[in-house]
Structures are given as C-alpha cells and as structure tokens.
C-alpha cells in the first residue's frame, strides 16, 4: 500500500512512518501543505493521511483540490480539533474518515486497512482478510481455503457488508439494497439471512455486530 502522510509534527510523523514501514507499506511524508499538494499532482497513492493544521496550505484546501481533480483516493483526516464532526466526512469536505489526536496506532492501521480495502478490494478480483477470501467475480467465499456454500441472498448481504465495513447498516438500507425478483425482502427475512451468514462464516475474522434499534455493522477482526 502506498501511503502519503501529510503531517508537520516531525516526531509524530517519524513514528507513523516507522510503524507503516514495519508493516510493509510504502509511505511518503510531507510536512508542508504546498509540497503535499504538488506531490499529489504528480504521484498516485492508495491512501492519504492528512493533518488539518499545516504550514503553507490547510489540509482542507488540499482535500478540496484532490476532490476537484476527481481523485477518489481515500483520505483519512488526522485532527487535533476536538469539535470536529460529521461534516468532515461526506460531501461537505470529502474525507473518508477521521481520527482525533492522540490516537492509538493500532486503531490508525485498522482504519487505514478498511479504507484501502474499500478501494482496492473492489478493484482486485479477490478480497482477503486473514484466512478469509471472497472472489468478487465467481462470488465464492472460502475460509482456510475451504469453500463456503452461500445462497444468493447471503452473497448479496456479504457483498454489501464487505463494501461498507465498519459502517452501520440499518435494516431499511439492507432491504433497499438486497432485492430479488420477488421484490424487497421482509425485515424478518433479512434477520434470518443474517443469522445463516453469521453461522456459515464462523471461524473467519468477519463479524456482524447487531445493535438493536440501530442496525448492523460488518467488521474484519484482524488483530
């Protein structure tokens, strides 16, 4: 994974760089906003770690110019601001996720993995996480190389979770996305499908967490 870290604090930057290199990622570091903007115009990255308070050019400005060039590179904002909110993510600013400093490095790496997968996982033919693989083309899932028999609706559900990892999916959203010729499934039918999928993927790092009253979260436990 090629990562660009834009961070003006040298100590923090060194720590992050060292951690990412240890994990086998290629990471570039820029501490000036203008330099970062320049390099982003000439080089491609799989992920950008972006500080907001930067010399030269603010992180938000860099983000805007990246999005203005139609680059869909995932961006994770690292912010020291405590009142940061949902506006950072989504259309308004265009970041994919954010972490407030100080952060746990494991948390940072996990978030990065999720973001990277969201892009590369779809681009590549096979999704891998620990002993779990899923082939997007053949729609085949396997645990420890052993193929898991999945029904059509279960595949649809799995695909939905894999593209929206770590995000809350409400039953309504799921019902909206999963449909067949019979029309949209009942909420009860979704619950049943969910239970079967959980059972079949037991033993893989893939988890589905239920929050009553809110919905479901799909998560890859790779720690």
């Amino acid at each position: 994974m090629r990562v660009l870290l834009v961070e003006d604090n040298q100590t923090l930057a060194e720590a992050v760089v060292e951690r990412f290199r240890k994990d086998g990622h290629v990471i570039d570091h820029e501490s000036d906003g203008n330099d970062a903007d320049y390099i982003l115009r000439h080089k491609e990255f799989d992920l950008i770690l972006l500080d907001i308070n930067l010399p030269g050019r603010s992180g938000f400005d860099i983000l805007k110019s990246v999005r203005a060039r139609d680059l869909d590179t995932p961006v994770l904002v690292l912010s020291a601001r405590s009142e940061i909110d949902d506006r950072v993510i989504g259309l308004e600013i265009g970041a994919d996720d954010y972490l407030t400093k100080p952060f746990d490095f494991r948390e940072l790496l996990a978030r990065c993995r999720v973001l990277a997968r969201r892009k590369s996982g779809l681009a590549q033919n096979v999704f891998r996480a620990g002993n779990f693989t899923f082939d997007w083309n053949s729609k085949l899932a396997s645990i420890d190389g052993k193929q898991v028999e999945l029904r059509n609706k279960e595949v649809q559900l799995l695909e939905l979770f894999l593209t929206r990892l770590d995000r809350v999916l409400t039953k309504e959203e799921i019902a909206d996305k999963i449909y067949n010729f019979d029309g949209p499934p009942s909420l009860n039918a979704i619950e049943q499908t969910m239970t079967r999928l959980r059972k079949k993927l037991d033993g893989s790092p893939f988890l589905i967490k239920t929050i009553r009253g809110l919905g479901y979260i799909g998560h890859m436990d790779e720690s």
């Binding site: 405590s82 009142e83 809350v168 988890l207 967490k209 929050i211 809110l214």
Partner: protein, 453 residues
C-alpha cells in the same frame, strides 16, 4: 421627527382653536344671557297691555363687547312684536323656555350670535310666554378666540422649548456619569474588580448596578477559572510525573520482563493522561461553546445515532450489547418532532460521555440501552447500563469536577461534569438514578422546539 412634531402641533392647534371658540362663546353667551334676563325682568302687563322697559344696564352689559353691534326683538309666543330694533326671525322650532338657546347666523352683513330666551308672564286671566331675542356681532368673540389661541399656542411653544431644554439638560446630566463610567472602565486594570462607585442619578443607577453585577460575575468566573486551572495543573502534573516515573524506572531496569512490565504501566499511564487531556479539552470546549450561546435547531435523534455509531466503531470487538430505542412518535412522526435548540457538538460530547461512562464502569458483557422518548414538551434521553451503578449518596458528588467513583485511576472525573455543563447551557435537566438493568440510569430532559404539539 419634524413631521411628527408638525402633526402634533396641528392636532394641538385644532384642539386649542376648538377650546378657544368654546371659551369665547361661553363668555360672550353669558353677556347675551345676562342682557336677556335684565330685559325680561322689565316685562310687565299694564292695563292688559304688555310693555317692556328695557333697562339701561342690559345694553351696558352687552357693550362689554365694545365694538359689536346688537339687534333685538321682544315678542310674545304668538309672534306679536312688543318692541324691537329689527324685524328678526325667531329661532327655528323654538319652544319657549327660560333656558337660553344660542345659534349663529349672518345678519346685516356680519356673522351674528343670537340668543333667545323666554319668561312666562302671568296675568289676571291668562299667562303667556314673552320671548326676548338678542343678536350680537362676533368681533369680540373672534378677538378672544384669536387671543386665547395665540396665548395658548405661545404657552405650548414655550413649554415645548422648555421641555426640550430640560431633555437636553437631562440627557447631559444622565450622560455625565456615563462618561465617568467610560473613563473608569477604560483606565481600569484588568485585575481590578472593585465595583463602580459613582453616586448615580436614578436614570443610570440600574445601568451601573448591571455593570457592577457584571464585574462581580466576571470575578466569579475568573475565580472559577483559576480554581479550574489549579485543578487541571494538579491533575496533569500528577499524571505526567507518574508517566515520567514509570519511564525512568523502565530505563534503569535490566531485567527483560521487569522492563516490559514497567513499559506497559507507562503506556497505561500515557493512555490515562491522554484521556484526561481529552476530557479537559472537551470540558473547556463545552464551556467555551456555552459562552458563545449557540442556538441552532437540530435533530436530537440524528445526533444520538451518529454519536452511537462513532462509539460503536471503537468498541467493535467488545461484548457489550448496545441497543437503541427511539420513540416511534419521533422516528415516524412529524419531521420536527425531535428538534431541540442549542449546540449539537456539545450535546454530542455529552452523549458520548454518558455512554463512555457506562462502558467504563460496566462489565465486559455490559448491556447498554440508549433511549429517546417524547414526553410532552420534553425529549428525554436515557442511557442505562448493567454496571455497578452510582450509589445514591454519591449522585450529587459525581457531577463535581475530578470526582470519580472509579478507583483504578481510569476515570478522569470530568465525564458527568461535562454532561452537567451541557445540560446547564441547554436548559436541560440531568437526573441520575438506578436502572432496571441494575446499573446507572442517566437521563437528560431537553426542551423540545415545538411549533405546535
């Protein structure tokens, strides 16, 4: 301003003119009445002949209007003239009465005020009304009207000018202490909280009282901040020296496993210090934003959901069972059913702290139920857990800063204090009680922004 003044002057002038006219008529009508009475007194029946001996005094009375001409006619009720200066027309629809009637008319080329009154004359075999009619030109009346009007006008103008003068003096008198206040405040040292000691005129006394009250609140606030800073300093320095201690011990450690142990403890201490710092900053932020008096309307249910989602992402691997219950009346009711007014970022911080508290103080398999219900004009947000709860005798204390029931040093002692601040700035009620799940129940009662229930 000038237009209003002119309009008032016009209205006043019309009223004054009306008054002057009334007064002049009243005065000169009395003359007519008096003259008429004097004439009627001298009406007699002498050998069956009605006769009148007009007294000199009656016309003398009328000559009090020195330049006015007079016309008179004395006649019986059947219209027979006894004597007259002119052949005058009687008042229309006249019913003889001792009460005088007055009317205006034009006669002999001038406006004339007429008066007519009667006297019942009782003779031997009959009684009849004798009527006297006197007309007087209006020169004296008009002079009096003009005189009253212009005098009244002059007085009004004088009083207006005097009034404006007083207003001007008053404003100066009132402004003078304001200038003193301005000087005082401008030259005041920022640490000087003595109240303004200017003996005030009544008009600015309340202003000075307000300023003094503000100064005293400012002092309270500063005292409060100083106490807070002292507390914070103590907390952070304690945490940092503890961290430093662990790191120093680790640096001198030669034993590999002991070294690991020391480092882990340093890491834990570091984590706690980070948490403490975050909480301090959150607390400061909440207070700062409360001072800004942010008054946006926002959907509470949405904030609850997104806050919960953020927290969930940090606890994906835990065994804590979260559930959310949102009143269907809010979920599928009117779009503004869950609207409250305030600062969504602070409210988010409060919710986060309540839930964090529940997580922190509860067991690994904790059950946390978050519910949002509509209760009339209130929205009640409740967070319940299956943890140990807060003992009833500590419920008041946990709201204080740096008070925590956690003994392992994990709690910053700021969580509920933050919630408390947010509740205060939103006019919400914070209630701590026992949950049916066995642990604590924290409830926030927000006021709804309701257009109509």
């Amino acid at each position: 301003m000038g237009g209003v003044f002119l309009a008032i002057l016009t209205v006043f002038s019309i009223a004054l003119w009306g008054y002057a006219q009334q007064a002049a008529n009243r005065s000169y009508d009395r003359l007519l009445h008096g003259a008429g009475l004097a004439v009627l007194e001298r009406v007699n029946i002498i050998s069956n002949e009605i006769t009148v001996d007009i007294p000199y005094s009656s016309f003398e009375i009328l000559s009090l209007a020195p330049d006015d001409r007079i016309f008179y006619r004395i006649f019986t009720q059947d219209g027979r003239t006894i004597t007259s200066s002119h052949d005058l027309r009687s008042a229309s629809n006249y019913k003889p009465s001792e009460r005088p009637v007055y009317w205006d008319d034009a006669y002999s080329g001038e406006p004339v005020r007429f008066m007519q009154q009667a006297r019942l004359l009782t003779g031997d075999d009959q009684s009849l009304w004798v009527i006297t009619q006197i007309g007087q030109t209006c020169i004296a009346r008009h002079e009096m009207i003009a005189d009253l009007f212009w005098r009244g006008f002059a007085v009004a103008l004088f009083i207006t000018i005097l009034g404006l003068l007083f207003v001007w003096i008053g404003i100066n008198r009132v402004l003078h202490p304001l200038i003193d206040i301005e000087k005082n405040l401008r030259h005041r040292d920022i640490s000087d909280f003595t109240p303004l000691a200017i003996s005030p005129p009544r008009e600015v006394a309340s202003l000075i009282r307000s300023i003094n009250s503000f100064i005293s609140r400012l002092q309270d606030n500063l005292d409060h901040s100083q106490a807070f800073i002292a507390d914070v300093t103590h907390q952070i320095r304690t945490a940092l020296s503890s961290l430093q201690g662990h790191l120093e011990l680790a640096a001198r450690e030669t034993d590999e496993s002991q070294f690991r142990n020391r480092l882990d403890r340093a890491a834990l201490q570091s984590k706690q210090t980070i948490h403490l710092t975050n909480q301090l900053l959150a607390h400061a932020m909440v207070i700062h934003r409360a001072d800004q008096k942010i008054k946006d309307a926002f959907h509470l249910a949405q904030v609850v959901k997104s806050t919960l989602e953020t927290i969930l992402r940090e606890h994906l691997k835990s065994d804590i069972e979260f559930s959310l219950f949102i009143d269907p009346a809010l979920e599928s009711g009117k779009p503004d059913a869950d609207l409250i007014v305030g600062d969504s970022i602070s409210v988010r911080e409060a919710i986060r702290n309540i839930i964090d508290n529940a997580i922190k103080h509860g067991p690994a398999n904790n059950q946390i139920v978050i519910s949002l219900k509509a209760k009339g004009r209130q929205l009640v947000l409740t967070v319940e857990d299956a943890g140990p709860g807060i003992p009833a005798n500590e419920r008041a204390s946990v709201l204080e800063r740096f008070y925590t029931t956690a003994r392992n040093g994990e709690g910053s002692g700021l969580g509920l204090s933050i919630v408390q601040e947010v509740a205060k700035s939103h006019g919400a009620r914070l209630r701590l009680s026992q949950s049916s799940l066995g642990g604590a129940e924290v409830a926030l009662h927000f006021r709804r922004r309701i257009s109509n229930v």
